[in-house]
């Protein structure tokens, strides 16, 4: 029987997109389905740390070695998504000397470049570190933008012939006896690019092989074919500051602990994180104490954080997995390694594998291993090229960085736009049309927004993850309406309006956890602008009844 596609990948996080790219580059026919936007799962809700491996250098040296290898590869193939910040493991007076030594030795064992700094040297690099710091280990940690990296994988997969369907939720896994042969998906607004308010539809997609890369949701998908995958989802909170208090990744040098990392990310610094098992990855409490705990604990390392302004907080859920029978108590002790579950071997059901666990940093290596496995199953002989082939935007980066072209933009905007777009900068920014800045906080111009809309349709959250528009201090207060405006006239007014409502509500969601001080004042300005000046909360266009215009003042002085 002819199938719709050779390989069907479920889940549009880093794992799924990485696999789709790998297989597409090997010449396989691939379809990927994702229920929301790309990165809507854990990938879009992580800490942004490109691990050097230092974190695992004592507890899990296999992971640590893999991290440093992949860290180096990603700097090459995804340079436009990585900032080489460096990282410090900081020892405070209470932290053990033995552990410090083990960390240093561990780094060396795993070939992670590591150097000891005195407290003073560390504070020269990061002046806001607490004065009572003893010493620090410097490692090549980095900051990574998971959104653009994941999207770049998807875009390249498409360039190699893959079909990428977002807003396409798997509602059934099709199983015939002991064989899985495809899925039923529900398209939120028809196949293709997202189009708000377009009618939904369902589609059966058959495949020779199905890869379940739905992370924390992998158990739910497996259950659709009566298979069991015991994911142990574990949530963690991250709190975003309005400025970069540090330019280096700051880790606390102690065996394990919550809330011990600060990652500089674009214009912000992100504090995190915690580790607490949850039962449902879609529905778990987001609590005040978690936010307070990360701020208060990390203020031990960087005291000014105590009084600093946060712009939002968000939670992510780790797709942790343990082989049956392990039963680790504390989720922090569950391995961060990934597992490839071949359901043919494990359950006697062919045509399906599930991938769970792992880290963002090692997504490419995971994808390579899984793709090898899939090729084996399909009898395809093709080698992996993802470690050498740069992602779109990272080709010839050195040339770009030397380039002086500012595309008629002010320098800070040009610089940030070029950093985001990498080698795609001139394709996107060179335009004869007027190109004003739409998002002033992040320096995003109309041309970049239009490019993102071209890729993703009417979903402004998809525009957001591609461009960072609406992710700065005002959290979309000033720009969300401008982003929606760009949808028109290609899409009609009602579509632009509902896209705006969706983005605006999404931006509010995370700000609720930062509502005090400056950010509460900011929230009030935003509320006033949208409700008072624009009357968006009581928009007559959105209500059913018709307004009796004749009863109101028509301006005629009688």
């Amino acid at each position: 029987m002819a199938t719709d596609t050779e390989v069907l990948v479920l889940g549009g996080g880093s794992t799924g997109c990485g696999i789709a790219r790998d297989l597409a580059m090997r010449g396989l026919e691939v379809t990927l389905v994702e229920r929301g936007n790309l990165t809507d799962g854990t990938t879009g809700r992580m800490h942004g740390l490109l691990h050097s491996g230092g974190r695992y250098a004592v507890s899990d040296q296999a992971s640590a070695t893999e991290c440093i290898e992949e860290n180096e590869i990603l700097r090459d193939i995804a340079g436009h998504c990585v900032e080489e910040t460096g990282g410090l493991f900081v020892q405070l007076p209470d932290d053990s000397d033995d552990y410090f030594r083990e960390k240093l030795e561990g780094c060396r064992d795993c070939n992670i470049p590591a150097r000891v700094l005195s407290g003073r040297e560390a504070r020269e690099i990061e002046p806001y570190l607490t004065p009572d710091i003893e010493r620090a280990i410097e490692v090549p940690d980095g900051a990574v933008d998971p959104f653009r990296l994941c999207v770049a994988n998807a875009v390249d997969a498409e360039a190699h012939g893959a079909r990428i369907e977002t807003h396409a939720e798997v509602i059934d896994l099709l199983r015939d006896g002991a064989d899985v042969y495809g899925v039923d998906v529900r398209h939120d607004s028809g196949p293709g690019k997202r189009r708000h308010a377009a009618p939904g539809s369902t589609e059966e997609i058959t495949a020779e092989y199905v890869v379940n890369a739905t992370g924390a949701w992998a158990g739910q998908i497996a259950a659709m074919a009566d298979l069991e995958v015991a994911v142990r989802p574990s949530k963690g909170v991250m709190t975003i500051m309005n400025v970069r208090q540090v330019d280096t990744v700051i880790n606390r040098c102690r065996p394990k602990g919550d809330a011990d990392i600060v990652v500089p990310h674009e214009t912000t610094a992100i504090l995190g994180t915690t580790d607490e098992e949850v039962s449902d990855p879609d529905d778990y409490p987001e609590a005040q104490w978690e936010v307070d705990q990360v701020i208060d604990t990390l203020a031990d390392l960087v005291p000014i954080l105590e009084e600093a302004r946060t712009i939002r907080s968000f939670w992510g859920v780790r797709p942790l997995y343990e082989p049956p029978g392990t039963a680790t108590q504390d989720p922090t002790d569950i391995t961060r390694d990934f597992f490839l579950l071949d359901h043919a071997e494990r359950d006697g059901v062919s045509g399906l594998s599930s991938i769970v666990g792992g880290k963002f940093t090692t997504y490419r290596a995971m994808a390579e291993e899984i793709s090898d496995h899939v090729c084996g199953k399909l009898g395809v002989d093709a080698t992996c090229a993802t470690a050498e082939e740069p992602l779109p935007g990272s080709e010839n980066l050195a040339v770009l960085e030397d380039g002086m072209d500012e595309f008629g933009l002010r320098s800070p905007v040009a610089r940030r736009s070029k950093q985001r777009l990498g080698s795609r900068a001139s394709d996107v920014l060179e335009t004869d049309d007027a190109n004003p800045v739409l998002c002033a906080c992040e320096g995003v111009t109309r041309a970049e927004v239009r490019d993102a809309i071209q890729q993703s349709g009417t979903d402004l959250n998809a525009v957001r993850i591609r461009t960072r528009a609406s992710m700065g201090n005002c959290q979309g207060g000033f720009c969300s309406q401008l982003l929606a405006t760009e949808l028109h006239p290609e899409y009609d007014e009602a579509t632009a309006r509902s896209a705006l409502d969706e983005l605006f509500q999404e931006r509010w969601k995370g700000q609720r956890h930062a509502l005090w001080g400056e950010q509460l004042s900011q929230a009030m300005v935003t509320y006033a602008l949208h409700a008072t000046t624009m009357n968006r909360d009581r928009d007559p266009a959105a209500s059913d009844g018709s307004l009796e215009y004749g009863a109101f003042d028509d301006g005629e002085v009688r």
Partner: protein, 466 residues
């Protein structure tokens, strides 16, 4: 707002402090300005001390009185009728509906030709830059020809470099809102604008000064007003009125609008915009001119940071200490003077009566941290839920508790303690620093600031005379 008079005063009633007045207004937004103007109606010495630019820089410049009832009913045709039904504690309920009318009449007089809407009690529906319409009670003359109840067709002109207002999108939005006329939008390039990120003030100044601009790459230049009129003219299809984003000039906005209207043979109007808002800044300028004319001493750019109470107790309260525990007795007595921080120097400012008009969360008259919400100068009580996760609800346009943060006051507009006693005998509060109303949902922001500012100023000056 460069107008500040910092002359040291030697005629003060108290010899030991340099600066002394009858009424001191703290905060120079709409509420503070109204309070100072209303107080200056009487023969008293009034000073206004203000720190940063007021919320008018961000606000549309429309004077909303009440567009929706607190339960969401609306848009209300007649805001005055609805004032009677407001809950106890709402600022309008505190001052009474008659005072709201008086305050508006007072504003109408101050604003003169710059504002209209006083010919009717009915609200006007004004097209907004987002394309909706919203109810308001007074609007700048510049906006008058744009009302949505006017059934003449309209052309909406946006500019490709000014993304805040998109003519075609606003026009289809108005159609979706069911307006009784045809709206059509065009997007043009603005003659003389060379940078894609020019500020709104640049557009305004081009027109204000009628700068010479070149068109069609030719060497010849024309005035910016003619150039703009010409480029719009090509797109006109018989519409009798044309709307622009609110960038048509600054101090000479009337002249700019008239010139464009004559050039096009149509009525021209402005659509109010978000920050930085020229109509808001024009209103602010108008108020500061009026303050100067009224002889109010204005000190700007400096914050009030502290206060001292009168150690001799309150002269406004009965001398008999046995009467001291009535519910109307000020809990903390009488303010003797406040302290102004002038670039690090702490300068006492004394007055007989004080008006607190420092704004809400936006103006920074109400502040918060992770622990709670407070009023920073006098530490007046700001009611708020203890748990900060009860400060908001999940729907972004839901019934937001934070939007109501502010002071409780009595009918004299004196801030109240938790036990409902007034905090001080000689402090009144006005404007966004007050609590108990959600101006954004109700569309009542400027109206509340006007009405409470007016009443606080009147009462303060009356108390001085007494």
């Amino acid at each position: 707002m460069g107008r500040s008079s910092t002359e040291p005063s030697t005629t003060g009633r108290c010899a030991e402090v340099a600066i002394s007045d009858d009424v001191l207004v703290i905060g120079g937004g709409l509420a503070g300005a109204m309070a100072a103007l209303a107080a200056a109606e009487r023969d008293v010495r009034v000073r206004l001390v203000t720190y940063k630019q007021s919320t008018l820089r961000q606000a549309s410049g429309l004077i909303d009185v009440l567009g929706y009832a607190p339960d969401g009913d609306g848009p209300l045709v007649d805001p005055f009728e609805a004032l009677e039904g407001l809950p106890t504690g709402h600022p309008y309920e505190r001052v009474g509906s008659e005072a709201v009318r008086e305050a508006l009449a007072f504003f109408d007089e101050v604003a003169g030709d710059a504002y209209v809407g006083d010919h009717t009690d009915a609200n006007a529906l004004v097209p907004t830059h987002g394309g909706t319409v919203k109810p308001t009670a007074r609007y700048p003359t510049a906006t008058a020809a744009g009302l949505a109840s006017d059934n003449r067709d309209a052309l909406l002109v946006g500019f490709e470099t000014l993304p805040d207002f998109d003519g075609p999108l606003a026009a289809s939005h108005l159609a979706a809102a069911g307006v009784p006329f045809d709206a059509r939008g065009v997007t043009l390039s603005f003659p003389g604008i060379e940078r894609d990120d020019a500020k709104v003030t640049r557009y305004a100044h081009l027109l204000e000064r009628d700068e010479a601009v070149s068109v069609d790459d030719s060497a010849a230049t024309v005035g910016a007003r003619d150039a703009l009129a010409e480029s719009v003219d090509e797109h006109l299809e018989g519409e009798p009125r044309v709307g622009f984003p609110a960038i048509l000039g600054d101090e000479r906005a009337d002249e700019v609008r008239t010139a464009l209207g004559e050039g096009l043979g149509v009525d021209v109007f402005e659509v109010p915009m978000g920050p930085p808002s020229l109509p808001g800044m024009r209103l602010s300028d108008l108020l500061y001119d009026a303050l100067e004319d009224a002889g109010v001493r204005v000190t700007s750019g400096v914050p009030v940071v502290d206060y001292e109470v009168d150690p001799r107790g309150s002269s406004d309260t009965p001398a008999d200490p046995s009467a001291a525990k009535t519910s109307d007795d000020p809990a903390r007595g009488r303010i003797d003077h406040v302290v102004v921080d002038r670039n690090g120097a702490e300068v006492p400012h004394r007055a007989d009566q004080y008006v607190l008009a420092t704004g809400g969360l936006v103006g920074k008259g109400v502040r918060s941290d992770r622990e709670g919400v407070r009023e920073p100068i006098f530490d007046c009580h700001v009611p708020h839920p203890e748990d900060r996760y009860d400060w908001f609800v999940d729907g972004v346009f839901g019934d937001q508790p934070y939007a109501r943060f502010g002071l409780d006051v009595d009918r004299e507009l004196r801030p109240l303690e938790t036990d409902s006693r007034p905090t001080f005998s000689n402090l009144r509060a006005a404007g966004a620093v007050l609590g108990g109303y959600d101006f954004a949902a109700e569309k009542s922001g400027s109206g509340v600031s006007l009405a409470t500012g007016y009443v606080a100023g009147r009462r303060a000056s009356t108390a001085v005379i007494r």
